[in-house]
């Protein structure tokens, strides 16, 4: 597992991008920060996508590992210790230059830096810290940074890094403790959840303390006790015989005394779909719990790709379970913006998503007693539950009906997908098709439509991942109010 020192930058980049690509998070959203003179870059709240790779996934950030060396041996991971693959490591300098030069040319929104565990979690986290510090203070980079918190790293390091990043993430990887034991013996539930909790507390306490605090006080009174005087803290750690110590200044204050915010774009996580036997209901319930109890901004789902030939890993004949992943994203969207709860979409008795129907249609068909609803009078949250009505279209309907009586053609203009919605709504008391339709017929129609939507875009088993945005082209993030009502779980 020797790093080849002589490798050129292009080779390294190839290896370390390859090694990073199984992490699916690539959004650059959640931070809205204008440029400050003397710096390079800004961030845009909704995030930007600069390109799309051959697999159709968005490229927003320079997603790389610092190094693909790792002391651990997680079964599903291409970088695990026991794999005989070429290893490489960047220097902080190289990462900075790549980020800056790519950013200036408008290739990227910023950096997504992750890493295998080199020597120890502390050692690795410190490398990430050095890199980010250099990027922010030497290269004056003001764009987006997403960085991994390495489970097991000293909380002080995690805190320091949090003040340099926009978003942090710790990957849960597998939804149950048992799954972890089986495939990632070096990771435990607690080890993963500890930094997640720390980051959550940091974000929260910052929201509470509106007044700036003096000098070197840490914002994490409850999670970390700083030793030494006035916020100075030494971290001592070793790797292969080297001992390093580092003095930290007061957290969150930049070189010129300006205060930085802690993880302003929130934290996210990722779960692998299909590497372990958990069902969809378990996955979705875990996601729901993370949103509720850890204030996560996003949970990402990553269809399992069998990169290692390992007897403990399943062989999935159809390749990565893309449809399952797609359904989880759709359901996740329903949790976050449509006011649904996991228990409404799936149950112990029916723990997996319908292959043929998206979760919202599936739910609506099981609740025909609630439909049809009258477009003119139904409240906003009820409209949101109608198949074929998205966040944007519901908002437009609510605005337009104040001044007019809406008819079916009008709804189409507001972005409603009538092919789906027509069975669930009335306009001025009328259904679009005058005859009373039974549930079987509607199911048949919706399944047919879903099939076309799913299959005529992709060949074999490829799907358009973003078809979950009901209002198609308008894939922008919903507004604050949607987020809030979704968070309140309003029906």
């Amino acid at each position: 597992m020797l790093i080849q020192e002589s490798m050129d930058l292009k080779e390294k980049l190839g290896i370390l991008a390859d090694a990073a690509k199984y992490d699916v998070a690539c959004t650059s959203s959640g931070s809205d920060r204008p440029n400050r003179p003397g710096t390079l870059g800004n961030t845009v709240a909704a995030g930007l996508c600069h390109s799309f790779a051959a697999d159709g996934r968005c490229i927003s950030l320079l997603k790389i590992l610092f190094t693909n060396q790792c002391v651990y041996d997680c079964r599903y991971c291409i970088n695990r210790r026991s794999n005989d693959v070429p290893r490489a490591a960047f220097t902080p300098e190289e990462v900075c230059r790549l980020t800056i030069e790519f950013y200036r040319r408008n290739y990227i929104e910023g950096l997504f830096l992750s890493s295998g565990v080199l020597y120890s979690p502390d050692y690795t986290m410190d490398l990430l810290y050095q890199t980010l510090w250099k990027l922010r203070y030497e290269y004056r980079f003001n764009g987006y940074i997403h960085v991994k918190a390495i489970p097991g790293a000293d909380p002080v390091l995690i805190e320091q890094v949090g003040f340099l990043a926009d978003r942090m993430s710790v990957n849960l990887e597998l939804p149950t403790a048992e799954g972890l034991r089986n495939l990632a013996p070096s990771k435990t539930r607690t080890r993963i959840l500890t930094p997640m909790r720390q980051i959550q507390r940091g974000i929260r306490s910052q929201q509470i303390q509106l007044l700036p605090r003096g000098g070197g006080e840490t914002i994490f009174q409850d999670s970390i006790a700083y030793g030494g005087r006035s916020g100075q803290r030494q971290v001592v750690y070793g790797g292969e015989g080297q001992i390093r110590t580092r003095d930290f200044r007061s957290p969150g204050s930049g070189r010129n005394g300006s205060r930085r915010r802690f993880v302003p774009a929130g934290q996210s996580t990722q779960m692998i779909v299909g590497a372990t036997p958990e069902n969809d209901f378990q996955m979705l319930s875990v996601a729901e719990a993370l949103y509720r109890n850890y204030d996560l901004k996003r949970v990402f789902y990553s269809a399992f790709v069998r990169v290692n030939d390992d007897s403990r890993l399943p062989v999935l004949p159809g390749g990565p379970p893309l449809l399952r992943e797609h359904r989880l994203y759709q359901a996740d969207w329903l949790l976050r913006f449509y006011g649904f709860q996991a228990g409404e979409l799936l149950t112990e008795e029916k723990p997996n998503f319908n292959v043929f129907l998206d979760p919202k249609c599936d739910w609506a068909l099981r609740h025909m007693e609630l439909f049809p609803v009258e477009v003119q009078t139904a409240d906003y949250n009820t409209l949101l539950r109608v198949p074929g009505v998205g966040v944007r279209s519901a908002r437009r309907i609510a605005a337009a009906r104040r001044s007019a009586r809406l008819d079916f053609p009008d709804l189409k203009k507001m972005g409603v997908v009538l092919k789906r919605a027509c069975y669930f709504i009335t306009c001025s008391g009328r259904l679009m098709y005058p005859v009373k339709l039974d549930q079987d017929f509607i199911t048949g129609q919706l399944v047919g439509e879903e099939k076309r939507k799913t299959w005529d875009i992709g060949d074999r088993n490829s799907y358009r991942q973003l078809s979950m945005f009901d209002d198609g082209f308008l894939a922008a993030a919903p507004t604050e109010e949607d987020v809030r009502s979704a968070a309140l779980g309003q029906m």
Partner: protein, 265 residues
């Protein structure tokens, strides 16, 4: 039918709106067209709308006072569209906007409002796409040059984004279709220039560095895709083919050659 014609500018269109409206011939008996577009219609009288500062200001004031900033921005955005019918669409829209005021933006059930909404949305979408997909290259002397080929006249909408983001850089965004450029000076202002010929573009292309970072970006781009998930149709739906000739990651040959290639029509 009386047809008013105006120049293809925001100012021109608003002056056209003024003349058509103030002619008192009745909204149904007049029509507004961009000059030199569309066929000559029989049994119609053509009148050229003269552009004056005064008319422009009157219409602008009326919009801002009665319908607000948002409507004003929508109309400006729509005026950048490549659709020749845009002048009349703006006129029809303003009839409702000045009547209903701010609330008009919610009245998508009204055809004139919906038409303008779509027009504006196309312009905004293209602006967003190009803000994401434009690629700069180092054009010597510390200038970043990005060449685009937009259907609508959007570089003026792109410039503020980069003026903030790349505040400390000298940059040029060049519209290959219209021979226009937005030019920004480091730490300074940006401005629009109309160019008489292709010499500018040639200079921007020629001086483009064949630098390692373009090659490094292509390397990254290639490696970040997961082979098992290959999905060209999905890729195409998000990143339409028309943008690709101008994007570094799709220029396969030596950067300089590819750039020339991609730009040849």
């Amino acid at each position: 039918m009386t047809i008013f014609t105006c120049s293809d500018t925001f100012e021109g269109i608003l002056c056209g709106v003024y003349d058509a409206w103030m002619s008192r011939l009745g909204h149904d008996n007049v029509c507004l067209e961009i000059e030199n577009t569309g066929n000559l219609r029989m049994f119609s009288e053509y009148r050229r709308a003269e552009e004056t500062e005064d008319k422009f200001r009157k219409v602008t004031d009326a919009i801002l006072r009665k319908a607000g900033q948002q409507v004003y921005e929508q109309v400006y955005c729509a005026s950048l569209s490549c659709q020749p019918e845009k002048a009349d669409m703006i006129y029809r829209y303003l009839i409702y906007a000045l009547h209903f005021g701010r609330g008009v933006t919610d009245m998508l059930q009204i055809p004139a409002v919906y038409e303008l909404f779509r027009l504006k949305r196309r312009v905004c979408n293209e602006t967003m796409h190009l803000i994401e997909f434009i690629r700069f290259s180092q054009a010597g002397k510390g200038i970043l040059a990005g060449i685009v080929n937009p259907e609508n006249d959007v570089i003026v909408m792109m410039a503020p984004h980069f003026a903030d983001r790349l505040r400390g850089e000298n940059w040029v965004i060049y519209d290959d279709r219209r021979r226009k450029a937005a030019v920004h000076q480091a730490m300074g202002q940006w401005l629009m220039i109309q160019l008489p010929d292709d010499t500018w573009k040639e200079r921007l292309v020629k001086s483009s560095d064949q630098e390692t970072f373009e090659e490094l970006w292509r390397t990254f781009y290639k490696h970040i895709a997961i082979e098992e998930r290959r999905n060209p149709l999905c890729q195409r739906s998000h990143l339409p083919l028309k943008y690709r000739p101008y994007m570094t990651e799709f220029q396969q040959q030596a950067p300089g050659a590819a750039r020339e290639d991609g730009l040849r029509k």
